[in-house]
């Protein structure tokens, strides 16, 4: 299945990974690709690590991506990027939101926050883009649109027309939030990409 693109979205419960993966599915559908998405609900959502996976291509069978088979890892949080680094193919791309969320194990003093997280990210990922999505979202006045900023940044790497992305977002976001989400997409797309896919 060499033509299948495997995207893993990781983050912390409540960060909006589910909407981001829905946008990807819609983009695939609109562009005539087969697509499958996998996610887990329930217990993990209570502040735990969350993973959502999207696969698109000519024909997709498994909704799950094997360990070491992800083409693009979209991490909404830096520690989660490291935690899921093994998801990536050796030459895969990591797109990491420049945000740190300390888990309760750290905030309660049971575990240590890793030293030099940025250095670890650089040494772990051969292809790394750190996206200032949180800052961009804050600048737009809504921290909840970090997810769409990340989608905008991702859109640079996929051979799908910009209009298709905008159409997908328009079909999924409530009208009253559409304007801010489209601006988030534009801002994410405008982030200069340092590495190609």
């Amino acid at each position: 299945m060499t033509d299948t693109l495997n995207i893993s979205l990781v983050g912390v419960g409540g960060q909006g990974t589910l909407l981001a993966s829905e946008i990807l599915c819609r983009v695939a559908l609109l562009s005539g690709r087969d697509v499958k998405k996998s996610e887990v609900h329930g217990m993990a959502q209570r502040g735990g690590s969350v993973v959502s996976q999207v696969r698109m291509g000519e024909k997709v069978h498994s909704p799950l991506i094997g360990i070491g088979e992800t083409d693009v890892l979209i991490a909404f949080e830096k520690l989660e990027a490291l935690r899921h680094a093994h998801f990536l193919k050796p030459n895969g791309l990591a797109m990491v939101n420049d945000q740190e969320i300390r888990p309760v194990t750290v905030s309660s003093g049971q575990a240590q926050w890793p030293d030099d997280l940025d250095g670890k990210l650089k040494s772990t990922f051969a292809k790394l883009e750190v996206i200032p999505a949180l800052n961009i979202a804050r600048g737009l006045g809504n921290v909840r649109i970090v997810n769409v900023v990340m989608i905008g940044a991702l859109s640079n790497h996929l051979d799908i027309p910009e209009d298709t992305w905008r159409q997908a977002i328009t079909s999924l976001v409530k009208p009253q939030f559409l304007d801010s989400n489209l601006r988030a997409f534009d801002a994410g797309r405008a982030v200069c990409c340092r590495v190609g896919l």
């Binding site: 697509v35 209570r46 194990t105 240590q112 926050w113």
Partner: protein, 592 residues
């Protein structure tokens, strides 16, 4: 026909199919991974009467009644829910359907959000009812409709068995013309020989059920959902459900018999396929359900060393199998980086369960627990839950421990939705049998764990109607419990005092801890707490309630041993429990 494609989860696809197939009644109790089925059926509430049943048994009984009356109906439940509903199902198989009935059993291999990993395919075989096993959202859509047609035609309930990866994965579904079919109206006709299984009639029904098995077997042989994908016949694979998807990718060249109807299994088809291939492998997730039956037919199966039992299947496990069969070394699978701090699920900031668990921890009580978010109370620092078995078990468990002479304080802890589900009968048993245990109902006004569904205590139905709001304390009093107390769990002192008194009184008691779930109620935060610089002495007392909003700061530059606490303003919802714990009055209301 116009192409009408949508990306749908398996659960959404099932709900769409229910509407298309003309379902008129749907009843279910929430349970991961099945919950979204009824939530999505509710989007069609103009055409489908739908409700949250108090438990799966009642949900099953409601759809059986609807079937008697001639309506097509649907019930859905997680795997363990079918245990609760098994009693009516077993006899419904005898009595048989009038209007079509589809039962969705959503299993949870890998236990993402469950307490066990039972493989419910055995229950279809046990109940002797046909079972379809979809492998993606499209099949969820198609098979749910087929199940209803089959049910009506063969007068039997039909199980559609999904798993987490089917229910919660999404894929493209061609909805066809997406028009609601109005099924032919089936009238109720009284027929006690068919519907009253007293022994003289039940024995006839038993024979009739056996006769039906032969017809089910014919359907299984000829079902369009049994599909041979012919490839290189040196390797043949028999598989079903999600396992098919992994197998198809790991063995692109092999011949595959993909089963969509897995009870009964198509014996002739399997025999013919086995003869047509070299080595035959069975690839299935969970228990050796297909394997046992195929082995019993005397068919030779090649047993690989790669273990596919226990836990969820995934592409990596199948790749390991493919490598073994190809005589290659097992592919190396990368591991997660070592030494990263874990991010486990936790009780939310401001969760009202925290006050009760903190008190139970101080009281050193033995706590029998139950199913819900509050199972997280078992973990440090609250560490206030000792056991969990199943929905409602806490009440009977505590009573049993008491009657066995267990020394020390014993309490059962159960949520409001779980209490209504199956805690009431346990509590009645305590009262009737002169028990002395205390039952604590964590009444957070919703079914929180599965995503905030309504229940008999919320005063609202699935279809959005206002209804009777049954109060836990009234139920307890009605059952004959003399000592019933209602507490505010945010008041730590009161909570401790009431629990101490009730746990130390040798009489049955119920304590209702009443406070809305902060996550479900979407309360606007009007108050927050903060710890001004220099106020914290670093004693760590506030950390004992395990609130994720309270963080341990970096060591004080002048005193490296001193780590001061701080409150994360993004997370704090202002419950004020931490402020009550601080002996130095260092936690104060913040200006917001």
């Amino acid at each position: 026909m116009q192409v009408n494609k949508k990306v749908l989860s398996g659960n959404e696809a099932i709900a769409h199919a229910a509407w298309v197939a003309g379902v008129r009644v749907a009843s279910a109790y929430p349970g991961t991974p099945s919950t979204e089925i009824l939530e999505n059926v509710a989007n069609f509430k103009d055409d489908i009467y739908c409700e949250w049943a108090v438990n799966e048994k009642v949900g099953m009984e409601v759809v059986i009644g609807a079937s008697f009356a001639g309506a097509r109906s649907l019930t859905a439940m997680k795997h363990v829910g079918l245990n609760v509903a098994l009693d009516p199902l077993m006899t419904f198989a005898y009595v048989g359907a009038n209007g079509g009935v589809v039962i969705i059993s959503a299993d949870d291999p890998g236990m993402h959000s469950s307490q066990n990993e039972q493989d419910n395919r055995y229950l279809a075989k046990f109940a002797k009812v046909p079972m379809l096993e979809p492998a993606d959202s499209q099949e969820c859509y198609d098979m749910t409709q087929t199940a209803l047609d089959l049910s009506e035609e063969l007068r039997t309930p039909v199980i559609v068995r999904t798993t987490t990866r089917i229910s919660h994965s999404s894929g493209i579904v061609d909805l066809g013309d997406f028009k609601r079919r109005e099924p032919t109206e089936l009238k109720y006709a009284k027929d006690i020989e068919r519907r009253v299984p007293v022994p003289m009639f039940a024995r006839k029904m038993r024979l009739a059920l056996e006769e039906k098995q032969q017809e089910f077997a014919r359907r299984a042989e000829n079902s369009p959902y049994q599909r041979i994908e012919r490839g290189d016949d040196r390797i043949g694979i028999i598989t079903s459900g999600i396992a098919y998807q992994y197998a198809r990718e790991a063995f692109p060249e092999a011949s595959i018999l993909k089963l969509g109807m897995t009870f009964p299994i198509p014996r002739q088809l399997i025999s013919d396929f086995a003869l047509s291939v070299g080595k035959l492998y069975i690839i299935e997730e969970g228990e050796p359900y297909l394997e046992e039956q195929i082995l019993a037919m005397g068919i030779k199966i090649t047993q690989p060393k790669t273990n596919l039992r226990i836990g969820e299947l995934n592409p990596n496990r199948l790749e390991a199998l493919a490598a073994e069969i190809a005589g290659q070394p097992a592919p190396k699978v990368a591991h997660q980086m070592d030494g990263l701090p874990a991010r486990p699920p936790v009780l939310c900031p401001g969760c009202s369960h925290r006050g009760v668990f903190y008190a139970l921890n101080r009281l050193k009580a033995t706590v029998t627990g139950d199913i819900g978010c509050y199972s997280l109370g078992a973990f440090p620092p609250l560490s206030a839950m000792d056991t969990i078995v199943c929905m409602g078990a806490s009440v009977g468990n505590a009573h049993g421990m008491r009657k066995a002479g267990h020394e020390g304080r014993v309490a059962a802890v159960i949520g409001d939705s779980t209490f209504f589900h199956s805690g009431i009968t346990g509590l009645l048993n305590v009262v009737y049998n002169q028990g002395t245990s205390t039952t604590i109902v964590l009444d957070n006004r919703t079914t929180a764990m599965t995503g905030h569904q309504d229940h008999p205590g919320t005063g609202r139905t699935l279809m959005g109607a206002q209804t009777v709001e049954t109060k836990v304390e009234d139920v307890a009093a009605g059952l004959g419990v003399k000592r019933v107390r209602v507490i505010d769990p945010y008041d730590l002192e009161e909570t401790y005092n009431v629990l101490k008194e009730e746990l130390d009184t040798p009489e049955a008691s119920v304590v209702v801890s009443k406070m809305a779930c902060v996550l479900g109620a979407k309360i606007k935060v009007t108050r927050q707490y903060t710890i001004p610089a220099d106020a914290c002495k670093g004693c760590g007392m506030c950390l004992k309630i395990g609130c994720p909003a309270i963080e341990v700061g970096d060591p004080d530059p002048n005193n490296p041993k001193l780590k001061k606490a701080r409150i994360n303003p993004v997370l704090c919802v202002g419950c004020g429990m931490c402020a009550q714990l601080c002996k130095f009055g260092a936690i104060v209301e913040a200006v917001i």
